[in-house]
């Protein structure tokens, strides 16, 4: 062990002067790192994208082609599965349901959450904030049981109201969390000078703070929408035949006897692609929302 280390070291020792080999070695290691980085990141990108590409490719294959190992990569694409999904399975209804539930719960959560986050940030209401953020920690099922008890006794299970309320449970804590860190980083001086100029504190919030926090609200709103759109567990229990959201509707393609793989992959693509498109256009907001509060002390 020590012998090999010594011999490895001795090759780098230049008897005429130690400065030269060090200078020569450094650019080499920098170059080596560059190539290593390119290689490693290529592997990462491929590993992240290949499964999604596979999902998309399979959605364009007939069920016969999916079972044919020779048609893994080369195959004749067909839109048959998509036609099937949309015409036979009422997917427009489910797409609307998913959108409506995510949209309304996000808007309502913004209305409730933004002023609350403002108060919690400005008055440092740490204990209240903790209560709201607890919702992030609680396993959803521990709320589903009592909700199911109450709402099925009120005969509300299967309606939009219950679904929207349950999705607000996902959206509200997220919005409060992101907006609190946004307000925390916003200088107080703006509001103070507005109040000197004669605005009431609520007026200053309305006319100065709110317009300035549009970016933060966009961040919080987009993330809340995505999380609500992706939510599965609440809709699984609380939605009915007419209010089913897309993640639940996917299961229509899985039966005990067999799986319609082509249809299933087309349905999965229909669920994910809208959210990915939104994500690509709002990348900056999503990243800032995902990392909100992570770096401050």
């Amino acid at each position: 062990m020590s012998k090999s280390l010594l011999s490895a070291g001795s090759t780098q020792v230049d008897p005429h002067g130690t400065a030269r080999p060090v200078r020569r070695r450094k650019p080499l290691s920098v170059r080596a790192y560059k190539w290593f980085r390119v290689g490693a990141l290529t592997v990462v990108v491929l590993a992240l994208l290949a499964p999604l590409a596979w999902l998309f490719a399979s959605s364009l294959k007939t069920n016969v082609d999916i079972y044919d190992a020779t048609k893994t990569i080369v195959f004749t694409p067909t839109l048959e599965n998509y036609v099937n999904v949309i015409t036979r399975n009422n997917y427009f209804v489910y797409i609307f349901n998913s959108f409506w539930v995510a949209f309304v719960s996000t808007v309502l959560s913004l209305v409730l959450g933004v002023p609350a986050a403002y108060a919690m940030s400005r008055f440092t209401m740490q204990r209240s904030a903790l209560v709201v953020l607890m919702a992030r920690v609680i396993p959803g099922i521990s709320l589903l049981v009592p909700w199911y008890y109450v709402f099925s006794n009120m005969r509300m299970v299967g309606g939009f109201t219950v679904l929207i309320l349950s999705h607000m449970f996902v959206a509200l804590p997220l919005i409060v969390y992101i907006m609190m860190s946004y307000f925390d980083s916003m200088p107080l001086e703006l509001e103070e000078s507005a109040q000197v100029d004669g605005l009431t504190p609520i007026g200053a919030f309305q006319k100065i703070t709110l317009p300035l926090s549009v970016g933060g609200m966009a961040t919080a709103g987009i993330l809340a929408f995505i999380f609500s759109w992706n939510n599965f567990m609440f809709a699984l229990v609380l939605s009915g035949a007419h209010t089913k959201t897309l993640p639940v509707a996917i299961f229509d393609f899985v039966s005990y006897a067999s799986i319609d793989w082509g249809g299933l992959m087309a349905a999965a693509t229909v669920v994910t692609v809208p959210i990915m498109v939104i994500a690509l256009f709002t990348q900056k907001y999503i990243v800032s929302g995902m990392t909100a509060g992570a770096t401050k002390g």
Partner: protein
């Protein structure tokens, strides 16, 4: 000077009429916070209290059926259940810790690779974002096809390098590691984003100083960079562990009810769901949930303590 709304005394005795606006401005702290707090109270605190109550009753069957108070009997039943509860708890711990460990190490490596700007950075960031926002159920279905023992791409790939077909998702012992792999694929990007935000917020000076002092790359990472972003690392661990503990969507999408025919991926969350909505054993399910909840709270408490320690 502006009128002070936080103190009860009025400035310079200006006798303004007590309007609604005055009242609202004076009480804006609670006026702003109250709607959200009431919502949280109704939808979270009240159900939580009810779950505690249910866990002390023998509620089962129909939600309209009367139930009796039976004290801590459900907890005794659950804690002595070596058939379903303890294996599920073990699987939850195994799933969470393995996924978390791999995600943190991989996430740190990728974040370090992305740290310094380079050409094509935009494309890498897009690739990182896509799994993160993909719908978990759809992702589960995607893996279900990829890992299918007969027609899946995974076994085809293994075949190319000469490895015989593996049962993967359908195997009794390989299913859980396979779902951990799925979790790693989807959530390592989240760790990367958080750690990258931490890294880019660092100033270059400590790193430069260490470089001048002759520290090599490994020394600079372990003795300079890592201690500096430790609070961010703990936030990443905190957020990831909360979600990993509660993983449900992908497990349900790939293995169905009860975590498969041998309960091979049945974690506490899947078990509690099955008890509640497949068997309608609300009392026992509530006891499982309370124990699960306490485990999560304990975990969080330890991590936040560590975070405070790391910041000092």
């Amino acid at each position: 000077m502006s009128v002070s709304y936080t103190t009860p005394t009025r400035a310079k005795g200006v006798a303004k009429p007590r309007t609604f606006s005055d009242w609202a401005n004076k009480h804006r702290k609670w006026l702003f916070a109250a709607p959200a707090m009431i919502f949280v109270g109704l939808l979270i605190i009240f159900p939580l209290v009810w779950t505690i109550y249910l866990s002390l009753t023998d509620a089962h069957g129909s939600v309209r059926a009367p139930s009796d108070f039976i004290g801590l009997k459900n907890y005794l039943t659950v804690l002595s259940d070596t058939d379903r509860f303890w294996p599920a708890a073990g699987r939850t711990a195994y799933f969470t810790f393995s996924a978390l460990a791999v995600e943190m190490v991989l996430g740190m490596i990728i974040a370090l690779l992305l740290w310094r700007p380079f050409r094509g950075e935009k494309w890498v960031r897009v690739a990182i974002l896509l799994p993160l926002v993909a719908t978990p159920v759809a992702v589960g279905m995607m893996w279900r096809l990829i890992f299918d023992p007969n027609i899946g791409f995974a076994n085809q790939m293994l075949g190319w390098v000469g490895i015989p077909p593996q049962p993967l998702l359908s195997g009794q012992y390989t299913a859980l590691p396979t779902t951990i792999f799925m979790d790693i694929w989807q959530w390592t990007p989240m760790v990367v984003l958080i750690l990258l935000a931490g890294l880019t917020s660092l100033s270059d000076e400590p790193d430069e100083a260490a470089r001048v002092d002759g520290a090599n790359a490994r020394q600079r990472f372990f003795y300079v960079t890592l201690p500096l972003i430790m609070p961010t690392v703990i936030v990443a661990i905190l957020l990831r562990s909360i979600d990993a503990l509660k993983t449900f969507d992908t497990l349900y999408a790939t293995k169905g009810k009860g975590g498969g025919s041998f309960h091979e991926v049945e974690t506490l969350n899947v078990y509690a769901y099955g008890l509640s909505f497949d068997y309608n054993e609300y009392g026992v399910a509530s006891a499982v949930l309370m124990i699960f909840f306490l485990i999560i709270i304990a975990f969080m408490w330890i991590l936040t303590r560590r975070r405070k320690g790391a910041k000092q």
